[in-house]
Amino acid sequence: MKPAFDPVQLAIPFFVIAIVLEVLLARFGKARANYEPRDAATSLMMGLGSTIAGLLTGGVVFAASLWIYEHRLFTIPMTAIWAWVVLFFAEDLTYYWFHRLSHERRFWWASHVNHHSSTHYNLTTALRQTWTGGVAGTWLLWLPLSFLGFPPAMVAIQKGISLVYQFWIHTEAVRRMPAWFEAVFNTPSHHRVHHARNPRYLDANYAGILIIWDRMFGTFIPEDDAEPCRYGIVRNLPTFNLFTNVFHEWIGIAKDLAGSRSPREAVGYLFGPPGWSPDGTRETSHTLKAKWRAREVLRETIQESAPADSHP
């Protein structure tokens, strides 16, 4: 069930036109973009499948939101401008924590990973949306907004606006926005870092519309032109198969749970960070970053000692 005004539905023609433009501009050398047709097909089919999956769980989500709203603390008018301003910030903050949870805990990563499994970063990547988010229950995080008193339709519209905003930042065609814009808003540059698999860039820039949350909570990493982003996931998938892309992490969880030897292990496999293992032999973002830092320290030490050694 969706509100009568659905920003995402309204924006679909814009999405199509923007992708066509990005492809044509890249084809004629006017903008930077790489498209691999099978990768683009997977991304677009994921977007289509996500719409269908959303129809299956949307009713439950909206019913839960309505039930919570019936037990709300306050009544916030949908027609008040101040209410939209407050909701803009509150929804964006909710999105930040949803997104951070979706990267830092494996159960929710399993439903979000398919947004990151492309090794490309173009406008089709934006449409590479989850099929299993409804089942993973991340929508629960938005219920407190309805409990506060924001009408569920209002919350759904603001969520849609955020999703539409995030479409245009999935591009390499835009290098940097003006400094004031980069300071406040999520931009193509900030979000390229978020999609990068270089160890230094892992688990950063979770913002939806405003990058201020990352700056506040210590997860902001700026794009360094000296280290171009390499896109995808730490262990890139060996196939373009749509269903492998959608379900591979869930299958991985199921296998690990089947092989777990204690409740502690089971909880770790489910809710630990992606890459967690009981013996620590697998790599998490934390261990990958620690290894990268150690390499950087070694490299700097060698660089610093080299000139000294060359002088008597």
Binding site: I12, V16, I19, V20, V23, L24, A26, R27, A33, N34, Y35, E36, P37, R38, D39, A40, A41, L44, M45, L48, T51, I52, L55, T119, T124, R230, G232, R235, N236, L237, P238, T239, F240, K291, W292, R295
Partner: protein, 128 residues
């Protein structure tokens, strides 16, 4: 399923097909020429920065690499215009037998098929 939804889904599927066709026509994938040893080593350094590569074997079509790093085989193979990286036990990888000019590395997650061409298998120079 009501008619409006059906039309919307069919329209979306058509748009997907057209956009994929456009991206194929544009030919704007990343260039990925056959690998030579310097490029293979550069890719290995990116994917396996903590391993010291001892020797490199490149598939006959330049689309895959098997490198030895101690007891490990570091394997890269082309997927689209990029590469997939995995590691496996060296002894398991070199124990694989070729068939029809190819070798399928079942010991490696993803089981890549490598084209041998004129290259010998197992990679004796890498094993040395």
């Amino acid at each position: 399923m009501n008619n409006a939804l059906l039309i919307q889904l069919l329209g979306s599927a058509l748009a997907v097909a057209l956009l994929v066709g456009l991206s194929a026509w544009a030919r704007i994938a990343r260039p990925s020429p056959p690998l030579d040893e310097p490029r293979a080593r550069a890719l290995l350094a990116e994917e396996f920065p903590d391993h010291r590569v001892e020797a490199v074997w490149i598939a006959g079509d330049g689309a895959a690499v098997v490198a030895r790093a101690g007891d490990l085989a570091l394997v890269l193979w082309r997927k689209g215009d990029g590469y997939v990286a995995r590691s496996a036990a060296w002894r398991d990888v070199v124990a694989t037998s070729p068939a029809d000019g190819r070798v399928r590395l079942a010991a490696v997650d993803g089981a890549p098929r490598l084209w041998l061409g004129e290259r010998a298998w197992p990679p004796l120079e890498a094993a040395a």
